[in-house]
């Protein structure tokens, strides 16, 4: 009887230890590699389009977008929901940073201002793809936390949605992330 009990302890401890290692090390590494690979593909595709004449390599729109992608690639291992929440909380207590949130938007708007409309649309498409990639990464980097927070946040978001501030909130958070990535990509 006691042997069966012991066997169960050993097997369960080993299995839980393996699951812990799989989730916190192998899975996290895999998610970061997957995100980086996708971002590299976007960056290479942008490079190819610019080489084919979309715009010039020294154009600020290309430079800003590439630097932002570089920032995401470099700090992909730190991009998770926990850090975003910490950043959000810290920024709300720093009035100077509140103003800087719109820095990325201002830079990209300034950079694309003189471009033909079709090129501007292309740049915006790349940015949207970048956002989608980032959202997927944030979810897969901390799925348990995301599910926990979403189950709480969805009813709250619904109330926010009714007051019309949800879109503004999401937009501010994306701008904050992009500004951080741009600053990191220099």
């Amino acid at each position: 009887m006691i042997e069966i009990y012991c066997e169960s302890i050993i097997i369960n401890t080993l299995a839980l230890g393996c699951l812990w290692y799989l989730y916190f090390f192998l899975y996290k590494q895999c998610v970061v590699d997957y995100f980086r690979q996708n971002m590299f593909e976007r960056r290479d595709s942008l490079f190819d389009e610019v080489a084919d004449g979309l715009t010039s390599f020294d154009h600020p729109a290309y430079g800003t977008l590439r630097r932002t992608m570089n920032g995401y690639i470099r700090f992909a291992h730190q991009l998770d929901l926990g850090k975003i929440l910490v950043t959000r909380l810290m920024a709300s207590y720093n009035p100077a940073l509140k103003e800087d949130i719109k820095e990325f938007q201002a830079q990209i708007d300034g950079a694309t201002a003189g471009l033909p409309p079709d090129v501007r649309i292309k740049i915006e498409e790349y940015r949207k793809k970048m956002h989608l990639q980032m959202a997927k990464h944030i979810f897969f980097a901390s799925p348990i936390m995301c599910i926990m927070i979403l189950s709480f946040a969805l009813p709250v978001s619904f109330v926010f949605c009714l007051t019309g501030s949800l879109k503004r909130n999401i937009h501010n958070n994306i701008n904050r992330l992009e500004s951080t990535a741009l600053a990191s990509g220099y």
Partner: protein
């Protein structure tokens, strides 16, 4: 000129802010990560404590090892083989990335001499200085 200076100051402020957030986020993540294994060890200890003094540890381990059935060890063998295969394949992937990265960078620099890099390692891994 003043605008450029302000932009540079903003960039530095963001980088500083981001570094502080990284440290706090990293501390929280590490607490979550390591508390998992501490919980596993704690429950294992609690379970062992119940049978403490009834048999020696050596006897128990010997009996368990000799009585472990193939039905229990087979899933572990499959699991560990999978992990080993994944790690081996990952290492091969990194070698392939390193092999092609140099040529790609060289070719891209011909078209864009001011080409900026993401500054990760040539194998596509996080730079040691960026790890927290």
């Amino acid at each position: 000129m003043a605008e450029k200076k302000a932009s540079e100051a903003n960039r530095l402020e963001w980088a500083k802010f981001s570094a502080i957030a990284d440290i706090i986020g990293s501390v929280l993540n590490n607490i979550i990560k390591w508390s998992g294994i501490v919980a596993v060890c704690y429950f294992a200890y609690q379970s062992i404590e119940v049978i403490a003094g009834k048999e020696t540890l050596f006897d128990l381990c010997f009996n368990v090892m000799s009585n472990t059935k193939a039905a229990t060890s087979l899933p572990f063998a499959v699991g560990f083989s999978g992990i080993g295969y994944g790690l081996f394949y990952r290492r091969q992937n990194k070698k392939t990335i390193e092999h092609f990265e140099y040529r790609k960078t060289k070719l891209e620099k011909k078209s864009d001499p001011g080409r900026k890099s993401s500054n990760i390692t040539r194998q596509g891994e996080t730079r040691p200085g960026d790890k927290l």
